[in-house]
Structure formats: C-alpha cells, structure tokens
C-alpha cells in the first residue's frame, strides 16, 4: 500500500480508530492490531512477500533469545544470524547481479557458463526490514538491550507499517521500549504527526512527482539534450530524490506519531551541508548511522591507524551504495562519496560541522559557507547521475555531454522545474534549525496556519487523485 494512495487514506483512519477506541484496553491488543495492520499494509502489494517477512522476523526473534541464553555459542549464533539475514538479501536482491557478473567475467576469460537466473520480484522494503532485524540481534549480542520475549512485540518493531517498506531504519533500543510501553493519546504529538504527514505528502506529491517528469524526460533522452539542460536534470533529480525520500520519511514519522510512537529522524536539510561529511550526517541518517554503528565501529572505526580507517571508510561507502541495489552504478555512487570524504578525513576536517547548522545565528550564510554548500551540492549532483543512470556507461555518457561547451548556456527546455525547487529551498532554509517543524508552525495566527494547512491539503488531494503518481523511489531498495 502506498502512502499516497486512496487505499492508505481509507486504511489509516480505520486502524487509528480501532487502535484508540476498540483495542485501547490492553497494550498487547494494540500491538496485535498494529501487527495485523502492518501485515495487511505489506501484503497489499503481494501477500507472498509476507511469508518472507514473517520468516525473517521469526529467525531474528529466535536468534535474539538464543544469543541471550548462550554463553559459549554467542558469537557463532550471531554469525549464523548475520548469514541468515544477508542470505535472504543475497538471494532476493543480489543473486541475479552476482550470477550475471560471474557469467560475464567467465566469458571474458573465454569460458562459457550459463548460471541459473532467478525469476522473482524483489520483495518491497526487504533491505529495510532485514536491517531492522540485524540491528536487534547486534544489540542483544552487544548487551545493549535484552531480547524481547513476546513475539508480537518484536514483530511490531520489525514490521510497524509506517517504517516497514522505506524506513527510517529503526534501532531496537530506540523503538522496542516504545512498543512495550503503554501508550496514551497525546494531542500535541498527533497534531505534529498530521502536520508532518501533510508536509511530507506535499514534498512527494507536488514537488517530487513534478520533478520526476522532467527527470524522466532528461535522463531518458540525454543524447539529445544540451549541457545546461543535463545539469538541470541532475539538479532536478537531486531534489526529486530528496523530496521523495524525505517526504516518505516525514509521512512515516508523522503516521507513527498518530499511534504514540516516535521514529528516528532521517533527514536534516542535507543540501545545506558545507562538506560531504556533513552531508552524510544529514542524508538518510538512519542508514548512515546504522553502517557506522554496526559495520564501521566493529571494524575498528578510525581507531586502528590511517590505513585501517581508510579501508573502513571505503567499506561503508561501498556498502551504502550496494545496499541501494544490485547495480554497479550504486557502487560508483558510493565510491564517489568515499573519494570526496577521504580527503576531509585525512585533513582532520570530517567533523568540522557537527551539531550545528549553516548560518546558525544568522539569516544568511557567509560567502565561505555558501561556497561550501554549492561545491558540496555540485559533487552530490554528479554522484546522483550515477545513482539515476541505468548503467555506468549511460552515466558517463550523460556527464560527458553535460560538460560540453553549452553547459553554461541558458537551458532551452525544462526550466519550469526550478519553480518547484526555489520555494522548497526557502522553506527549508527558514526551518533549518529544527528539522521537525515546518515553516507554517512559525506563523503567528492559528487561523492563518489552519487556512494554510487547508490549502496545502487541497492542493495535495487534488494532485493526488487526478494524476498518475510516481512510486516512491526508495521502495525498490
């Protein structure tokens, strides 16, 4: 079920009313309802996907208990669990990629092999829920949390429908305590939730979907476009994916608030980053912090000398790329980010902008900050070309045409997309100090705010039901 579908707009109020009015007597009933609703939400695509989700949930739930109760076999059990989770990912997401690459590698050496290819659809959100499960098992192994002994509670943590298919990737120590704690309806939280949902839908339905049309056109016919239009295409994609994914995260976080739960923040205005290190503290935070906590730090992080640190940086960036999909383009995307991050790391500049936003106490950035933002954004856009292109060759072709003589000419077409970006930038700039508040909350009068929300809802509803929407990009991951 899509967040921007009619089905969801019927589903959500039903679950909400049942949750607070019918199943509110006991926590376990509420959790059972959430679990059932989550399975309906997920099975809406294809009920067969549910079997894999339940299997994955059962495996991690069991391993959590076994690791806790075992002293001697803890490490072996942890590895067994990792192999299970990665095995599921490898089969459903990466098998065909490996098989195809194996085939072409063999054929380049003159050996003809014919590997078996799986004819299966990639289950929606598989990378997200396997990472949920892995974080749970890791945390038990590291004794950060105790295993959950009630399967329903654990299954809610893995399958909670707002985050099930595109995150944020939750941590057991953050979400599980909320699942097992009695919840009361909080007026303020629910109002905030709706506002976030509205803003998320606006970003997705109005901005991302509109930009998607330009992006599809430009990337689909890049051979016929001028350099400046291609540059515009890369910028549009940067904002499309930002609005699409951060819009999804906002809707997820907002929906969770309606049920009395708080999810992790996933985006903090990444395009205002002054260097690539800051970008990664602001973009898809739940994934980058997951890799930091469960891969980078266990590998030794930056503690084991320069070469080991460099190796670890490469590993997490390449893994981040590979996590997005079985294609070399994603690896290239990760590699570009790693290459931009490493100089900062070597110069000791990678933690220069921690915990503060650009122009924190000023209305406008300094020239230096502006330069930092623009260059970081330019690099990010270049990397997005690899992310969006179907093959490395297409990405290189795109960039070669882009860096032609007419790069600095006035784009001959597709200029209208800028109209979608400028208002977003203005709103984000004003709100950059508090990522969970929208600009409208800063307005003085209640009635004015209310009127603006009505207009926003009006625009969203009209757009939503009158055109073919675009599927959320991150569903495929």
């Amino acid at each position: 079920m899509l967040f921007d579908s009619l089905d969801f707009f019927i589903f959500l109020p039903i679950v909400f009313l049942l949750y607070w009015f019918v199943f509110d007597k006991k926590l376990i009933w509420q959790n059972a309802l959430i679990l059932l609703a989550s399975y309906v939400f997920y099975g809406w695509w294809d009920w067969r996907f549910l079997l894999l989700l339940i299997l994955s949930t059962l495996i991690d739930f069991s391993f959590g208990l076994w690791i806790e109760s075992s002293i001697r076999w803890r490490k072996a059990l942890l590895w067994f669990s990792i192999v299970n989770n990665l095995g599921i990912l490898a089969v459903f997401k990466y098998y065909n990629f490996f098989a195809a690459n194996f085939e072409s590698a063999m054929s380049s050496m003159g050996w003809q092999v014919h590997p078996y290819f799986l004819h299966i659809i990639l289950p929606v959100g598989i990378s997200f829920y396997t990472f949920h499960g892995m974080s749970y098992v890791f945390d038990i192994y590291r004794k950060v949390i105790k295993p959950e002994r009630n399967f329903i509670n654990y299954a809610v943590f893995v399958s909670f429908f707002p985050l099930l298919v595109a995150g944020p990737i939750e941590r057991a120590h953050h979400l599980l305590p909320q699942v097992i704690r009695p919840r009361r309806f909080d007026y303020r939280q629910a109002v905030d939730g709706l506002k976030l949902m509205l803003w998320g839908l606006f970003k997705k339905v109005i901005i991302a979907d509109a930009l998607a049309i330009f992006v599809k056109d430009i990337f689909g016919n890049y051979n016929q476009q001028s350099g400046s239009v291609l540059a515009l295409g890369a910028v549009y994609f940067a904002f499309q994916i930002y609005c699409d994914f951060s819009g999804y995260s906002d809707i997820a976080i907002g929906t969770a608030k309606l049920f009395g739960m708080e999810l992790l923040t996933n985006f903090k205005f990444p395009y205002f980053s002054r260097d690539i290190a800051e970008f990664w503290r602001r973009w898809h935070i739940s994934l980058s912090s997951w890799f930091r906590d469960y891969v980078y730090i266990p590998l030794g992080g930056s503690k084991g000398g320069k070469w080991q640190s460099l190796r670890n940086i490469w590993i997490i960036f390449l893994l981040s790329g590979f996590w997005h999909g079985a294609n070399w383009t994603f690896m290239a995307w990760g590699a570009i980010h790693a290459s931009m991050y490493i100089p900062l790391f070597l110069l000791g500049q990678n933690r220069k902008h921690v915990g503060e936003v650009v122009a924190e106490y000023r209305a406008l950035p300094t020239a230096r900050e502006l330069w930092g933002m623009l260059t970081t954004f330019a690099v990010v856009c270049l990397a997005w070309v690899f992310f969006r292109a179907p093959t490395i060759g297409a990405a290189i072709g795109y960039l070669s045409r882009m860096f032609s003589r007419d790069l600095f000419s006035i784009p001959s077409s597709c200029r209208l997309g800028i109209l979608y970006i400028i208002p977003l930038l203005v709103v984000d700039w004003i709100c950059r100090r508090d990522e969970r508040k929208t600009i409208f909350e800063k307005l003085p009068f209640t009635m004015l705010r209310f009127a603006i929300y009505v207009i926003l809802a009006f625009v969203i509803i009209n757009k939503l039901f009158s055109t073919h929407g675009q599927q959320f990009i991150y569903f495929q991951f």
């Binding site: 309806f185 629910a190 207009i455 939503l464």
Partner: protein, 306 residues
C-alpha cells in the same frame, strides 16, 4: 477512569473534531470550485454526430483522420474524437449516432485502453458530455463512478486550470476529413511524401495501464448498443509503430479476448508513419484503408462493385 485517561480521551475527541473540520473545509473548497464550474455556461457543445442508417462508421482519435481515406472505403464516415472525450464519452456518442444496420469500427489507440482514460479528467469531461451523461455514467457503472469519477474527477487539479483558463485548453477536436493540422512549414507535403524520413516523436510508444474491468465495461456497453440499435460493432488494432506489442501485450491480448477484432496486431514500419507514433502518412493511410475495405468486402459489408 483516572484523570490521565480522561484527559487523553478528551484530547482524542478534540483532535478528531479538529481533523474533521479540517477535512470538511478542504473538501468544501473543492465543492465550491465544482459549483463554480457547474454554474458556468459551457462554451463548447458536444459535437453534432451524423444520424442515419446502414453506414460504415469508423470511430477513433486523430489516428483515424491521418490513417483512413474515406474515398477508399465507399460509404464510410470517419469520426475522430480526441482524448478529452475518453472512451466513455466516445461510446456515448456512438450510442447516440448509431442507426439500424450500421457497421461501426472502433479504432482507438492503445492509450485509450488505459482505465484512466475511460473518463478523463473532469475539466475535459465537462465540456464534452452533458449532465445527463453524468447521470448515465452513475447508472451504468456505479462502482466506477464512485471511485474514479467522484475522486479522480471531482477532486481534480484541472478543475482549477479549467476555471483559470476558461476551458480553452480543453477544446475537443472533431474532424470528418483529411488532416488539417499544421506541423511545420508544409505538413501536407511531408504527409504525402512517403519517402520523407519519419521523425520519431519524443514519446513514440505509450505504456497504457491495464485493467480487465475496463475491457468488461466497454464490452458490456457495446453489446448493449448492438442490441438496442441493431448495429454491429467491431474493433481494430490501431496503426502504431514499433515497440507497442512489447510494451502493451496485456492490452493487445485483452482486446482480442473481449472484442470482435477485424485485424491482427501489426507492427507498422516507420516509413508508413507521419509525425506521431499513432499517425500514418499518405502511404500508410492507403494501405490501412485498403485493408479495411478488403475486410468489409470479405465479410459482406461492402459489395464487390463498391
């Protein structure tokens, strides 16, 4: 009940009340716009359709204007209704103009087989059918009307566009003869010069959404018209260039299953295409028209001497 729970419960009711007001206002704005559209006098009238009997009517979009030569199909009338009419609008016109003994060939591009095109967006639909047609739609397809008409069409961004642009951009296109559309300096020369290279249009193929119910709706409707008016209604695979089978296999198969087809799927070469992925040039038109004539003769709808 303790005081905390009581607060929580009253908060919940307060929240629901405010959300309900919020939604009512949002829907209210939509309804207000809709009323404005309804009270606004229509600039355009539904096209006047020719009445008669025992004719050969060929119904389609602009593809039939470019792709069919009425001189090569004796007694035929080509009726082109463009996309704003939608399949339903087109079928309603068909019902109105059909006379006893007519042979009707529906030659819709694949894009019309997209369920979203059954009733296109409100603003376009407003001008092409009357209030009576709305009522017919609700009677003919109550579930469809509820889900796709009320939601897809009344809550519609084009409502605003319609009001702002005063309906001008939704002018329907009805033609009964050869193309008059201008396409560059001298379109006719290009059209008639079959050796002129086909310039591939940007979107040369259309991936239509598929829904079996859509076909069932159309089939039910045309069967009713056949019984009611004593006509024979056939369908024809449109004249499209490469790639359409690969991209629309389900649609093509569904057409074969649901309709009486006069031809098989054909991959039209580019040298018979004009300026669009669904427009033939003069040579294509000749071949297409001859094919139809042959079929009509073979099936006894045209006499050999015609």
């Amino acid at each position: 009940m303790d005081s905390n729970l009581s607060t929580s419960s009253s908060d919940l009711y307060r929240w629901i009340r405010r959300v309900a007001i919020f939604l009512a206002l949002t829907i209210g704005v939509n309804l207000l716009l809709l009323i404005l559209v309804f009270i606004k006098p229509d600039k355009l009238q539904p096209p006047v359709m020719p009445n008669g009997a025992n004719r050969i009517l060929i119904l389609g979009a602009s593809n039939v204007v470019y792709g069919i030569d009425t001189l090569l199909i004796p007694g035929s009338i080509v009726i082109s209704l463009n996309e704003p009419y939608g399949v339903y609008g087109s079928l309603l016109s068909l019902r109105n103009m059909a006379g006893a003994g007519d042979v009707i060939i529906c030659d819709y591009p694949y894009s019309w087989m997209d369920p979203q095109k059954f009733v296109p967006s409100t603003a376009q639909f407003y001008h092409t059918v009357t209030a009576e047609h709305y009522w017919q739609l609700c009677r003919d397809y109550p579930v469809f009307a509820l889900k796709n008409f009320l939601l897809t069409n009344i809550l519609n961004e084009e409502l605003l566009a319609y009001l702002i642009k005063d309906g001008e951009s939704f002018m329907p296109d009805t033609r009964h003869s050869a193309p008059k559309r201008t396409d560059g300096k001298d379109p006719r020369e290009h059209y008639n010069k079959c050796s002129a290279p086909y310039v591939k249009a940007k979107h040369f193929i259309y991936e239509a959404g598929y829904d079996e119910a859509h076909f069932l709706r159309i089939r039910t409707f045309i069967e009713a018209v056949e019984r009611e008016k004593g006509v024979k209604i056939f369908f024809k695979y449109p004249e499209l260039n490469r790639g359409n089978y690969e991209i629309n296999p389900k649609i093509i198969e569904a057409m074969r299953r649901n309709f009486k087809m006069i031809n098989s799927f054909e991959d039209w070469p580019n040298d018979l295409m004009f300026d669009q992925w669904y427009h033939l040039n003069a040579c294509g038109r000749e071949r297409n028209s001859k094919n139809i004539t042959q079929w009509l003769r073979k099936n006894g709808f045209l006499k050999e001497q015609d």
